[in-house]
Symmetry: C2
Subunit: 290 residues, 2 copies
């Protein structure tokens, strides 16, 4: 595990340096929105999605931290952050804190938070276009749109406080969370010119860890503390959110997350030694406490 | 003028048909957001930006309504509408009506309006990627981001009710409005494989009509009526918005719009007969009453 932790730390440093280089300075006009973008981007995220791009790229033969992989890694983190900024707005989840700090609309104001999210989304595409690879732009868009992340968010919000089926919870998880994680893996492979069969197996891996990621999130909202997580716990239940443990049980949710992790690991077995970091990340995500 | 009106009508029909074909049906899950996207897209817009893409593409030798030009035309209208939906939100301009109908957050709800705008932005990039042309994705992103449209929106909001210089008003106009109009022209030309010198002249045209467009908008907010415009008039003054007539005069604003229109027309003179629709659009935008 220690080499995995070192790898994740290395990825974090790489993507943070890339982001710092790419993002406009708060001294550039209009300063306020650039400040908000940087405030939100450097809020202590774990950089899991960028690490998945870098690891998938390397597993498919790319050299660690090559330019295009770094651009895509920075881009996916901007897109993830864009979704969090909008998700936290009063008209959505109405969260005042994220990662232990005031959310963007609390630290700045609502209008600027809407525009700052928009700007991160647009800038992420500009950065992604610098890879010169149209396929990754298409992949990212499909993962983010109404047949992906945003579709999941809509159904999530519309299901609050209502009786939902396990099928609906799975739809929400598949789209709201797993789609962007799956896309990160696929994009990493695409930028290493992986063949279609390899991409298909990696996609299977990505979908499985993506689902496991959200199931674990739901579990932690019940079992963890606000201090450890850096955000309110118990909020899912309070809002009547559609979660896996709410519809099954904590035990069943843990079993399911373990099964998904095993599925993910077996999907990348064919890569042999090259899959070591992907296998490590799958285990890490299952066992994480934050 | 009648042939220009026919041309604009032909463009409107073309882009509406493309949008109708591209946009997910409200029957597709999640139905609510697809309904909002269609509600906002088919709200009777004039489709000026798509017409500029089609006209610039044709002026540079593209056949009318070729697939890539249509994709880009649909994309720019989605991006324009995305910006309007977010602009109308209570935390921004707080507008209840747009084109004579309730704005998206009034007809649906605020959360869905935020996500619907996001989804249009993302889908616009997916559609733009179908052209297979990376350069147009870069061009569009630069026009939309903090060095373009969003930058202009931020300074516009931050300048409300404050004393501003003519330089600031020009910054707002250049970015909030002219950048996307300029990009439409450039993208139309790029998709017809125009050379750099041609693109540079068209860019000059686009920037001039883009600025004129906003100056005329400011004038109409003073001289027109709510019935004719389909939105509240006098709202700029009420909000202490930074406008051209507020800092100069109605007369001077009209003179400036006329000068910009002349600049635009002279920039495309070298295209001869091929520029007839671009010249017509410049005149049309100067003389419009809505």
């Amino acid at each position: 595990m220690s080499s995995l932790n070192e790898y994740l730390e290395k990825c974090r440093v790489t993507v943070d340096a890339t982001l710092d280089e790419l993002l406009p300075s708060a001294k550039e006009r209009p300063g306020s929105i650039h400040e908000l973008m940087r405030y939100s981007m450097f809020a202590g995220g774990k950089r899991i999605r960028p690490a998945l791009i870098l690891a998938a790229n390397e597993a498919c033969g790319g050299s660690y931290g090559n330019k295009n992989a770094c651009l895509a890694a920075a881009s996916v983190e901007m897109l993830h952050t864009f979704s969090l900024i909008h998700d936290d707005l009063p008209c959505m989840d109405d969260d005042d804190f994220r990662r232990g700090r005031p959310t963007a609309h609390k630290a700045f104001n609502e209008g600027l938070a809407v525009l700052g999210g928009d700007a991160l989304c647009i800038f992420a595409y500009e950065v992604l276009a610098r890879t010169g690879n149209i396929a990754v732009i298409t992949e990212m868009s499909k993962a983010l749109g109404t047949s992906g992340m945003i579709g999941g968010q809509v159904v999530d919000i519309e299901s609050e406080g209502k009786p939902v089926t396990l099928e609906t919870v799975k739809y929400i998880h598949d789209n709201k969370t797993a789609a962007l994680i799956r896309a990160s893996i696929v994009i990493g492979a695409q930028l290493a010119d992986a063949d279609a069969a390899t991409i298909a197996k990696l996609e299977e891996y990505g979908m499985a860890i993506g689902l496991a990621f959200q199931v674990i999130d739901d579990i932690l909202d019940i079992t963890s503390t606000t201090e450890v997580l850096g955000k309110d716990v118990g909020s899912d239940q309070e809002r009547g959110k559609a979660t896996w443990p709410a519809l099954t049980s904590l035990e069943e949710s843990k079993r399911y997350a373990h099964e998904l992790t095993a599925t993910a690991k077996s999907a990348v077995e064919f890569l042999g030694d090259k899959a070591v970091m992907l296998v490590g990340i799958a285990d890490y995500l299952e066992n994480r406490i934050v």
